[in-house]
Amino acid sequence: MLKYLFAVQTVLLLGFYPGSVHSDEIDLPVEILNIDGDPEYGEYLASDCKTCHKSDGGGDSIPNIHGRPKIQLITLLYAYREKIKLNPVMQMQAGRLTNEEIVALAAYFEGLN
């Protein structure tokens, strides 16, 4: 396991939903970091995200995730999947993602401006 440390203020900047709890220390399995991620697959998977996440002018409740660094999105999706973070919509959406799909999504969104 590889530990990634995030300062609390960095996590808050990611636009967490009110009512969620978060840990500033999330254990990411090292294998997830060795996956390249297929951006084409990520683009298809991302269409589901885009129902709520706008490409511009995202709100306080549902933030804009376009262009976010890959490692941030991997960490967030992993944390929602493992129910470390609490929003039920995001837990549900991330709950069905494999490691490969998480990385594909993160790679795709990182490539957007």
Partner: protein
């Protein structure tokens, strides 16, 4: 009639031919025609145009120039949104995505020649047809009510002037007067919709119409409904004594109305009402029947591609489809549209096709800053779209969480309408 931007950029002979025979000429590119510009159709048209990068000609047939979303129309009734804020034009789809937007009614489909006939008389050719017409009402499903009575007893289940009319009628209810809502049987568009409407009607009466002694009677043919515990908790908390829900065990399904006398009869008991919202039983938009792809009231589809089980050249989205476990909602239609768009592009241009994934979340507002939600994820099996996982808000949640849920719904509205209309 302006039918196809590209067709009219050509030789004069081609233009003359097009003018003489009102048939949209093939441009050489594969053609997709989408009927219905709501959450399913607008999304499908936009994704096919965007992702095919001009390799597919997309025509969107939608009669209204300004489309009012059914979702969030209850918030207009409650005074939380303006009507303008839930109205959307198709300008971006035409200008930014090159979609040929035709404001007309589709009135005929010839599956043999693969053409759609418009009310204006023209025909449009397709290689793939996407039908996303929403719902129509089953005539005679509520005794005494017909579409001719929709001004006296509005359905307000297709948003726009009907919603405005219903709100005006609720506002005009005299002090201590009676509002009745006749709820529909399953399956129908937006399962929590009638109950959010009850909540928003109560809010309007109590806080905006200065009429907290008015009564709301709900005649329901069902023994239970979506988010029932959450709504009933909220009605007790916010609108105590205002709402009387009559379920099927108490005769709620044995209902008739008299729009001229303004009476509602529930299980033999006649009540004079001051306003009445009749939400009849529903079926797929009529164009599906015309196309001959319905079985019973809905159009069965494969969950893998949203293709009709009757005709593989037709995909059916949203409320009109019979697909399995997904509720009939704008979010569901939007989700299904992306699967269909991918399948259509794959079939017409050979682009990569991935396994279908679907999701849905429905937010409802009970009172100011009191939002609740239900959601699920789905996958395609050979038999149907099958639920994988889901959640629902819990009774007794904190005020902060309910406020956050409401605020989340506002962002969702902004997101999905951007996803539909660009």
């Amino acid at each position: 009639m302006k039918l196809d931007r590209r067709n009219f950029i050509g030789t004069s002979a081609a233009i003359a031919a097009a003018m003489a025979a009102p048939t949209v000429m093939a441009s050489g590119k594969p053609r997709v025609v989408v009927v219905g510009g709501g959450a399913g159709g607008a999304t499908a048209a936009r994704y096919i145009a965007k992702d095919s990068k001009g390799a597919i000609d997309v025509t969107l047939v939608e009669p209204t120039r300004n489309y009012y979303t059914c979702f969030f129309s209850n918030l207009y009734i409650g005074g939380f949104r303006s009507l303008d804020s839930i109205g959307h034009s198709y300008g971006n789809l035409a200008t930014e995505y090159g979609i040929n937007v035709v404001h007309d009614w589709a009135v005929g489909i010839d599956r043999g020649s693969k053409t759609v006939t418009l009310a204006g008389g023209a025909t449009v050719n397709y290689d793939r047809l996407i039908l996303s017409p929403g719902i129509d009402f089953i005539d005679g499903s509520v005794e005494g009510w017909s579409i001719n009575a929709q001004n006296k007893m509005p359905h307000a289940y297709k948003a726009g002037s009907q919603t405005e009319l219903l709100k005006a009628q609720i506002e005009a209810i005299p002090q201590g007067g009676v509002f009745a809502l006749v709820a529909p049987p399953n399956p129908y568009r937006c399962p929590p919709g009638p109950y959010e409407r009850v909540s928003m009607t109560a809010h309007l009466l109590k806080y905006h119409a200065n009429n907290p002694t008015a009564k709301i009677i709900v005649a329901d043919p069902k023994p239970k409904f979506s988010k029932m515990g959450l709504f009933q908790e909220g009605w007790g908390n916010h609108y105590s004594g205002m709402i009387d829900w009559v379920g099927s065990e108490f005769g709620g399904g044995n209902v008739s109305v008299d729009p001229d006398a303004m009476t509602v009869t529930i299980d033999g008991e006649v009540t004079k009402v001051d306003a009445c919202n009749v939400i009849p039983a529903m079926k797929a938009g009529r164009i599906c029947e015309i196309a001959g792809i319905t079985e019973g009231n809905w159009a069965p589809v494969s969950g893998h591609t949203m293709q009709s089980r009757v005709d593989e050249n037709i995909h059916v989205l949203g409320d009109a489809s019979a697909q399995g476990d997904m509720p009939k909602s704008g979010y569901s239609a939007n989700s299904q549209a992306k699967v269909a768009a991918m399948a259509v592009r794959g079939a017409l241009t050979g682009s990569k096709v991935f396994p279908a994934k679907f999701s849905n979340t429905c937010w409802s507002l009970v009172d100011s800053n009191d939002g609740v939600k239900v959601g699920a994820t789905y996958e395609a099996t050979d038999e149907k779209i099958a639920k994988i996982d889901g959640f629902v808000s819990k009774t007794g949640e904190s005020a902060d969480l309910r406020k956050a849920t409401y605020e989340e719904s506002i962002d969702w509205y902004s997101g999905i309408t951007a996803d539909m209309f660009g």
